[in-house]
Subunit: 119 residues, 2 copies
């Protein structure tokens, strides 16, 4: 199940806030939030999915290779976005002082499981 | 000097290809390339500076805090962009198998030196 995989990513990442599995069209397939988190994760990811399309296009124009991952760090949060295939990506929000490296590792590992479930 | 700081970042990052100090208007102040690198770093950064503006705007709209860093990973390169102030950012391109962690660390450390030189 998607939500169980997303839950694993969030709970095993120190500072994990939530994770969403989403299409490039901005429609979420599934999501998981850590309890007591008030952040509107879905809105965040919908907004970023537009930017994501721009980054993909730019990367393609510049022949920089296949996009794998984007991370955006602010003084409050870290957002890690991992491409799964042509249609879907997974996004993880971590608190600023959370474990970015662990989050990235889990996104890579569980990304394969998500791709398998999607196919 | 800017170029010496950029050179330090590139040479001390395993897999470092080049670094550019640039304004959000897409005009480069200074840059450093590792010898024998054929990648058009400046074109890459100019293209991404447009996307950067979009990401900043989205981050502002969503009240996600002050933007600090963005990284974009493809199957060929890792591009790390660090905001310096309201006007300037520094971008580092690393080969896919290079040391992302070391690059991020150096961008943070040398970022302070660049800000000092800029003021």
């Amino acid at each position: 199940m998607f939500s169980e995989i997303l839950q694993r990513i969030v709970e095993q990442t120190s500072g994990g806030v939530g994770a969403v599995l989403m299409g490039y069209d901005g429609i979420a397939i599934d999501q998981f939030f850590a309890p007591d988190e008030e952040i509107d994760l879905q809105m965040i990811v919908v907004e970023y999915s537009n930017v994501l399309k721009e980054i993909r296009k730019t990367t393609e124009i510049l022949s920089l290779g296949e996009m794998e991952e984007i991370s955006i760090r602010t003084d409050r949060f870290i957002i890690v976005i991992r491409m799964l295939n042509e249609e879907y990506f997974v996004a993880l929000v971590i608190n600023h002082d959370g474990n970015f490296g662990k989050g990235r590792y889990l996104m890579t590992r569980e990304g394969f499981n998500l791709i398998e479930e999607l196919s």
